[in-house]
Structure formats: structure tokens, C-alpha cells
């Protein structure tokens, strides 16, 4: 009976000690590697743009002329965005407030027309729809009447990328663009 008890105790000790000591011996020259696997460093490098494929976060570039629909007070602008991350992403939503660049007058808001999926390293076109407020139209009539194109800036930028929502205030992100003057 005591032999069974002793055997069970030895089994308990061996089960706990052998794997842990074995792992410590295997990593005796790299104890940090015992807790931080190499994959974590690779992922961190790739995400920060320092990996073999990454080149850092690139701001979107405006392509073509923005279109304006007078009936709905809505304009649309297209941007090209290159996904420099080593992963496929889906831009589910994008929104922001639009201000007059010259007078800092709030003009309306903008949002992404539809979600866009971009494979790693690929470039896709994002269509942003913006709606002017009544006050914005008055502002255009009084302050920028002589201009065909008006400089505006997108502030309070919020984007949802594959379930991760990033919000940037004016100090971090200002997307400037030229839009057709709705009241030329």
C-alpha cells in the first residue's frame, strides 16, 4: 500500500518537474525566448513597417475630380490607399467632419460609401461621400463665392479597420482636399 502511495507521489513530482526543467534546459541560453516567441517580434516588425514587405503607413491620395450633386447637397471624392500592412484588411467605415480650410467653418460630414477590402500590399479606391449643411451652403455663398474649387479639411477622423476603430483628432490627422464649390 505504501509502495502505491510512493509511486503515485513520484509520478506527480515527475509530471510537474520533467517538462519544466526540460524546457528550461532547452532555453538555457535564451531565457527571454522562453516567454517571447520569435513570431511576436516578426509581427511587431511587420506592423510597424520595419519588416521585409512593409514601408510604413501611407496616407491616402486623392484621385480625379470630386463630383457634386446639387439636389442632395452631396459630393463624392475618390482616394487611393495602399495597404502597406502584411495582412489583408477591410475598411468597414470611415467618417469625419469637414471644415473650411480658410475660415475653419464647419461644413458637414463625410463617410465611406461602402466597405472596402484590400489585400496585403494592394491598392484600392475609397469613395468618400460628404454632405454639406444649410449653413455650409450659406458660408460658400458669402465667403467663397468667386472660387470654383474650395479647400476643405477632414478632421476628427474615425476609421474602422477589420473591427479596430481608430480615432484621430486634428493634431494627428488632417486630410486636405479640394471640392467643387456648391455656390459658385
Amino acid at each position: 500500500m505504501d509502495k502505491v502511495r510512493l509511486l503515485l507521489t513520484l509520478i506527480t513530482i515527475a509530471i510537474v518537474v520533467i517538462p519544466i526543467v526540460g524546457m528550461l534546459l532547452a532555453y538555457q541560453n535564451n531565457l527571454l525566448g522562453l516567454f517571447i516567441p520569435p513570431e511576436i517580434n516578426e509581427i511587431a516588425d511587420n506592423l510597424s513597417g520595419g519588416g521585409t514587405n512593409g514601408s510604413g503607413l501611407e496616407p491616402p491620395t486623392m484621385v480625379g475630380e470630386p463630383q457634386y450633386d446639387e439636389a442632395t447637397r452631396t459630393f463624392s471624392a475618390s482616394f487611393q490607399y495602399k495597404n502597406t500592412f502584411p495582412i489583408d484588411i477591410t475598411i468597414k467605415s470611415l467618417s469625419g467632419n469637414i471644415k473650411c480650410d480658410e475660415h475653419h467653418f464647419p461644413l458637414g460630414n463625410a463617410s465611406l460609401s461602402k466597405p472596402v477590402s484590400i489585400d496585403a500590399g494592394e491598392t484600392a479606391t475609397l469613395t468618400v461621400l460628404g454632405t454639406w449643411t444649410e449653413e455650409a451652403i450659406s458660408h460658400f455663398r458669402t465667403c467663397t463665392q468667386e472660387k470654383e474649387l474650395v479647400d476643405v479639411v477632414l478632421v476628427d477622423f474615425a476609421v474602422d479597420i477589420s473591427g479596430i476603430q481608430i480615432q484621430m483628432d486634428q493634431s494627428q490627422m488632417e486630410q486636405r482636399m479640394q471640392v467643387p464649390n456648391p455656390a459658385p
Binding site: 509520478i11 506527480t12 519544466i20 476603430q165
Partner: protein
């Protein structure tokens, strides 16, 4: 025939078999799963197999892998001990086998739940990251040295069916301990013959 049935601790037999089944199942299905964003990051946790996945890259921490091996061997030894005990509950050494086997699944489940709770509390206290044990929540990630940027992620977590199977195994092993008094008692009629 009836005597054979009364000599077997059925709870121990079921508990031992379920414990071994838990090991096999847990190698594939985690006990608890955390998803960040739209499957951007997944954490698959169980005492038997813990790994993390970042999209297509799956990795495990070597020290935790060693602890997983400890858990596998512990549960395997427990399951085997319970199975052996279940068919010979009246031997002089049977109580040692039962004592060795019945606690381990229960302690494994308890330590796992305690470990999860402690980890989520540490995440909340140190990183100000609200990780749910069950359900979904949005949590704001701290970004050191950067002001004006807020990063909010959707965190979804939940216990999987393999966890509840482990709870059943622990319950059966506990029931086997309680049933031991009944099965280990030699009936007086049998003693007389």
C-alpha cells in the same frame, strides 16, 4: 453478474473516460476563446493547449507549452488512475488511486478559471484593458507616447463546449469520491458466503 456491477464505481469509470476524452478534445478545441476585432487576433486557451493566432500566424509561448505538457500528463495520469480504480474499488490501495485521480480534473478546472480571472484583472489594472470573460465589449487600447489617437477594439470572449466537458469530468470524479463509500463497503451477505 449483479455482483460485478456493484463492484464497479461507475462514476469513476465515466469520470476517467471523460477526463481522457477532455485531453483529446482540448488539443483541438480551446476551453476559452478571445477574439480581437474581426478575427485579427485570437487567443485559444485551455490547460492542455494554449496558443495565439494573428491572422494566419499561430504561435505559442514555450513556457506555457511546458505547463500544457504538465497538464496533459496530470490529466492523463488522473484518467488512468480513475479507470483502474473504478474496476477494483475494494482493493487495499484503491483509495490511494482514487485520491490521486479525482482531485486533478477539479483542480485543473479551478486553476484555469482562477488564472483567467486573475489575467483579466491584471489586464484591467496594468493596461487599463477591459477583457471580458464572457460576451463582447469594446475596449480602448492605451497608446504610449502618442496623444490625439484613440484605438478602440471589439473584444469577444466565451467558454467553449470543451470547458463544460471538463466541468462534467470534474463533477463525475467528485461523484466517484462520494460514491466510493457505498461501493467500497463489502455487503454483509457477501461476507457470510
Amino acid at each position: 453478474m449483479n455482483a460485478i456491477f456493484t463492484k464497479i464505481n461507475w462514476f469513476a469509470l465515466a469520470g476517467g473516460a471523460t477526463t481522457i476524452a477532455v485531453i483529446a478534445v482540448s488539443l483541438v478545441y480551446p476551453w476559452w476563446q478571445l477574439t480581437v476585432g474581426d478575427d485579427l487576433l485570437t487567443v485559444n486557451a485551455s490547460p492542455v493547449n494554449m496558443n495565439m493566432g494573428f491572422l494566419d500566424t499561430s504561435f505559442t509561448i514555450p513556457f506555457i507549452w511546458a505547463l500544457n505538457i504538465v497538464s496533459i500528463l496530470t490529466l492523463l495520469a488522473s484518467g488512468i488512475a480513475m479507470l483502474i480504480y473504478s474496476v477494483i474499488p475494494r482493493k487495499s490501495y484503491s483509495k490511494h488511486l482514487l485520491g490521486f485521480g479525482y482531485k486533478k480534473p477539479l483542480f485543473t478546472v479551478l486553476f484555469f478559471v482562477i488564472g483567467l480571472v486573475v489575467t483579466t484583472v491584471i489586464c484591467q489594472a496594468v493596461l487599463s484593458l477591459n477583457v471580458p470573460l464572457m460576451g463582447s465589449t469594446t475596449s480602448t487600447l492605451p497608446i504610449p507616447f502618442v496623444s490625439g489617437v484613440t484605438l478602440t477594439v471589439l473584444l469577444s470572449a466565451g467558454f467553449q463546449w470543451s470547458f463544460w466537458l471538463a466541468v462534467v469530468a470534474a463533477g463525475l470524479c467528485l461523484a466517484a469520491r462520494l460514491y466510493h463509500r457505498k461501493v467500497a463497503t463489502v455487503p454483509s451477505a457477501t461476507t457470510a458466503t
